[in-house]
């Protein structure tokens, strides 16, 4: 194993919902080290009381996202080398979500909004019916497919300043889910989806800041999905009023 003797200087946010600040730690630099590895090392070797969250460790569960040098990232898939500034790194809890402790946030508001966007399928068929044939190249399917691999990591949510300013705003991930479902021809209640995203916290609050699409670790494009919702709801608005 090749180890450089160098130490990384890591600032980690400590505290809870009532406040906190950064604490400094030294961590030995290693090859192939991810930000999550660095954080774990601190908990395992220096400060056993440090709290963070992870599960899959390969970018599938979306539970390890943190602010790394002020940018939201999935830490299990972020190689330290790609984010190091000199030999320094600053790690904090995701923005825009309440902090439970240290680096772990309460993700409930994020998921409450997912549900509030009607982000759960409205069935047209039952388990006793055959599976609907779907042409994989058909327009709606392609559109829906683009946003489906979201891992609900809330990276986009914490990158978005509209969420910061407007706590009711449903946010990019939930809206993208709504758009995906809206394009799912199997869904029974596309009207309900448009209703859900047209209220005072809805898609119309998005200012196309684009941070969502910029930071999504899976290279999804919530900004585009939200534009789709705006378009669909505007079309319906005119249809209804004419």
């Amino acid at each position: 194993m090749t180890e450089s003797p160098e130490n990384l200087s890591i600032a980690v946010w400590r505290g809870d919902d009532s406040g906190g600040g950064y604490e400094q730690f030294d961590v030995p630099a290693r090859q192939n080290q991810t930000v999550l590895d660095v954080v774990s090392w601190i908990q395992q070797h220096t400060d056993p009381s440090l709290t963070y969250r992870f599960a899959c460790r390969v970018g599938m569960c979306g539970s390890c996202a943190m602010m790394v040098n002020g940018e939201p990232r999935w830490t299990c898939r972020t190689h330290v080398k790609t984010v190091l500034k000199g030999n320094r790194l600053e790690v904090g809890p995701l923005r825009n979500l309440p902090v439970i402790k240290d680096l772990a946030t309460d993700m409930d508001p994020f998921f409450d909004k997912w549900v509030a966007s009607e982000g759960a399928h409205h069935p047209t068929r039952t388990r006793h019916d055959p599976i609907a044939p779907v042409d994989p190249t058909e327009g709606n399917r392609v559109e829906a497919n683009e946003g489906i691999e979201c891992i609900n990591c809330a990276v986009c949510y914490s990158a978005c300043d509209t969420v910061t300013g407007n706590p009711d705003y449903l946010g990019p991930a939930a809206l993208q889910r709504a758009w995906t479902l809206f394009n799912d021809t199997k869904d029974a209640n596309r009207g309900a989806i448009l209703d859900a995203v047209s209220g005072s916290g809805g898609c119309h609050n998005c200012h196309s800041q684009g941070s969502c699409s910029h930071y999504c670790p899976n290279e999804l494009n919530p900004m585009k999905a939200i534009a789709g919702l705006k378009r669909a709801s505007a079309t319906r608005f005119f249809r209804r009023s004419s």
Partner: protein, 109 residues
């Protein structure tokens, strides 16, 4: 703090204003050449139904557009919500509208 109605209103007013403001800028660039005077402005605009409608439309649109715009900014920056926010929006709209229409009458009547 934008539902679909306010959003549509903001977009529609923006679309109305786009040609108007571009036209306005064009006229201004043309007009400012060699200095500008009250007389010059008034000679162009006074008694003109066209300019009355032109600026009238603009004022109505911009009052709504600007008010909704400021509403969003005020909400997101200062956390103003609920009734206060609505009052703010419509007061700004009314104020802009009043001042604007007064000006339109001033230069076109």
């Amino acid at each position: 703090m934008l539902d679909i109605r306010l959003y549509m209103l903001q977009r529609i007013t923006a679309l109305i204003m786009a040609p108007l403001t571009l036209g306005h800028i064009a006229v201004m660039i043309y007009a400012v050449q060699g200095g500008i005077s009250a007389e010059e402005i008034l000679s162009r605009t006074q008694g003109s139904v066209f300019w009355f409608l032109f600026y009238g439309c603009f004022v109505v649109a911009v009052s709504l557009h600007g008010a909704i715009g400021l509403r969003v900014v005020v909400h997101e920056t200062f956390g103003v919500i609920g009734k206060t926010l609505s009052w703010f929006t419509w007061l700004v709209a009314a104020g802009l509208m009043a001042l604007g229409l007064y000006a339109v009458f001033a230069v076109t009547l």
